[in-house]
């Protein structure tokens, strides 16, 4: 089982490499760092603050957009091009194929996060800001955010077209990042609206958990530039992310299992 899943994952990673997705990632990294340099020069104090903000925002934004872009095509293209015929006719279960595709994409996205992280770290060291534990924690949280978004995209890709999947995944990414704000905004509304909103938000991944810098957590302000979340928070948020990934992949596998490949 592991061997088959790994074979699909490796092939998915190879595809991303061959179609030059990884070069695209490098371009994004260079672009983001150039932006950080320019904005850092414009900042009166603390250029490293700009580098951290741009670096983390870059990982979250470009990572999530790459996850959506790659994810929505992942299963759809296999079915449309009929490449899947030569694969699922071999002794592999369809869920293994879905998991393998996801892991391959997760590998690509991890490369993106690592390259972004290294670039940001290099920039911080160059500017004399140093790489703190808070930066490490924020990186791990961003990585999980990207992995959850990838699972969202692959879930929609298991039954929908890339266009619709992209819209759904993008919408859930945006909603997921502002769930506390939506909840707060609807508190003043009627109890019915508030209740419905709460239920709806329960079925959306809480992506804001992965980008807590600048927010208030249990009444305390947390920031990657100062007091940040403890490691226990990072662990729990990561588990939360893994839970969502497992659920989304399970649903994707069930939907994919029921499909006819004509």
């Amino acid at each position: 089982m592991i061997g088959r899943i790994w074979a699909i994952a490796l092939n998915t990673f190879r595809e991303a490499a061959r179609i030059r997705v990884l070069y695209g990632i490098l371009v994004l990294v260079v672009g983001a760092n150039l932006l950080a340099l320019v904005l850092g020069e414009m900042a009166v104090h603390d250029e490293s603050r700009v580098a951290r903000d741009i670096g983390l925002a870059g990982i979250s934004l470009f990572g999530s957009l790459t996850a959506i872009f790659l994810g929505v095509f992942l299963l759809y293209t296999e079915v449309q091009r009929r490449t899947i015929h030569a694969i699922v006719s071999k002794p592999i279960e369809r869920w293994e194929f879905v998991v393998g595709k996801y892991l391959g994409m997760a590998l690509v996205l991890s490369v993106l996060v690592v390259v972004f992280g290294l670039a940001m770290g290099g920039m911080l060291l160059w500017q004399g800001g140093g790489v703190t534990a808070a930066v490490g924690k924020a990186l791990i949280l961003s990585w999980f955010e990207v992995l959850v978004v990838a699972a969202l995209a692959i879930f929609f890709s298991s039954f929908s077209t890339p266009f619709l999947s992209g819209i759904f995944a993008l919408a859930l990414w945006v909603i997921g990042r502002v769930t506390p704000d939506i909840e707060r905004a609807t508190q003043a509304a009627s109890p019915a609206i508030s209740a419905v909103t709460k239920v709806v938000l329960r079925i959306v991944p809480d992506l804001h958990l992965f980008s807590v810098s600048g927010r208030s957590l249990d009444g305390n302000a947390v920031s990657v530039h100062g007091d940040f979340v403890p490691w226990s928070y990072v662990g729990l948020a990561s588990l939360h992310g893994i839970g969502w990934i497992v659920w989304l992949l399970a649903f994707a596998a069930v939907l994919f299992h029921r499909r006819d490949f004509v």
């Binding site: 091009r81 899947i84 015929h85 002794p91 004509v262």
Partner: protein, 321 residues
């Protein structure tokens, strides 16, 4: 039964069109069986249900009803698929891979170790004549080369049963001969080969048994000899006779066809139920000398056209890929 490689019973598949939800019956109760160590040809016109049957057997499509077993395992069976090699119709593989990488991927999915993968890939690449294209990505392959790569990946697991959907498609005459030779070689190795095609000369040349499918149902099954020998379509006769005798000799019996004159010879096809001796006696009276009398048997092509052309009363034509 242990000696059957494929058992299909009353297999049905009904699709619904996306918006109007109109029913399309691709398979309307297909039943047949394939004994082990046979070459079985599955023929039919476009849209007959050949590919739908094969995709159902390979687990790509779920049947609406009916049952099927591959090597004794009810479909879909992962266990059975470990012993089956499959070439899809007009195969499309990951075009960023080389043929070696494609075979390596197939080997990994079959659970082969690295040494076996390498050895088999090398042997198969050479066997299908792609040795010189090893370094090229599949993107640069012609249709015929892709077909060869597809055959190679179908044989990576040294299968007991090989299922080939239109394996001769896209190949030139020499390529088709190579595939025919390969299929015969596989049978000699004790394997079962099930292949679909609409190239009837290939079927007549190599199959042990044939099934003809049309409009989602089987319309004939047997050995090529069994299927075609049952019918004599007419008797081809050629006699050397003066031109003046043509009208007299072709006037009776009714139904004489393919009348032609080649120099001093008259040729025609008498109806199958003609009293040939009486006709020849009449010809002799006109001064004819017999050159040739040959009963014209039905060819597989005749049978194919006859069985697949006219839908049974009340049967709407079915559409299948």
């Amino acid at each position: 039964m242990a000696d059957l490689a494929i058992e299909v019973a009353e297999l049905k598949k009904t699709y619904r069109t996306p918006f109007r939800r109109k029913k399309v019956e691709a398979l309307r109760g297909v039943s047949f069986s394939v004994a082990k160590n046979q070459i079985f040809g599955f023929v039919g016109p476009n849209g007959a249900g050949k590919t739908t049957t094969i995709r159902t057997l390979m687990g790509l499509i779920r049947p609406t009803s009916g049952t099927a077993k591959l090597l004794g395992h009810a479909i879909p069976s992962r266990l059975a698929r470990t012993r089956i090699g499959f070439l899809p119709e007009a195969p499309y593989f990951y075009d960023y891979l080389t043929v070696g990488e494609l075979l390596d991927l197939a080997g990994r999915l079959f659970g082969l170790d690295a040494t076996t993968r390498k050895q088999r890939a090398d042997r198969l690449i050479e066997r299908v004549g792609l040795d010189r294209a090893r370094a090229q990505s599949l993107k640069k392959f012609s249709k015929g080369m892709l077909q060869r790569a597809g055959l190679a990946q179908a044989l990576m697991n040294d299968p007991d049963l090989v299922v080939l959907d239109e394996p001769m498609s896209g190949l030139d005459p020499s390529g088709r001969k190579e595939v025919r030779d390969l299929i015969l070689e596989l049978r000699d190795q004790g394997k079962t080969v099930f292949f679909s095609t609409h190239i009837l000369s290939d079927v007549e040349a190599i199959t042990d048994r044939v099934a003809i499918v049309a409009r989602g149902v089987l319309v004939g099954e047997g050995t090529p000899a069994e299927l075609v020998n049952r019918h004599i379509l007419g008797i081809d006769v050629v006699v050397r006779v003066p031109r003046e005798a043509d009208a007299e000799l072709t006037a009776a019996p009714a139904g004489i066809t393919r009348i032609r004159r080649l120099g001093d010879e008259l040729g025609c096809t008498l109806p199958a139920d003609t009293d040939v001796e009486a006709w020849l006696a009449r010809a002799h009276d006109q001064g004819a000398k017999v050159v040739q009398v040959v009963p014209r048997h039905e060819t597989l092509e005749d049978l194919f056209l006859r069985r697949t052309s006219d839908p049974a009363p009340g049967e709407p034509p079915a559409v299948a890929s």
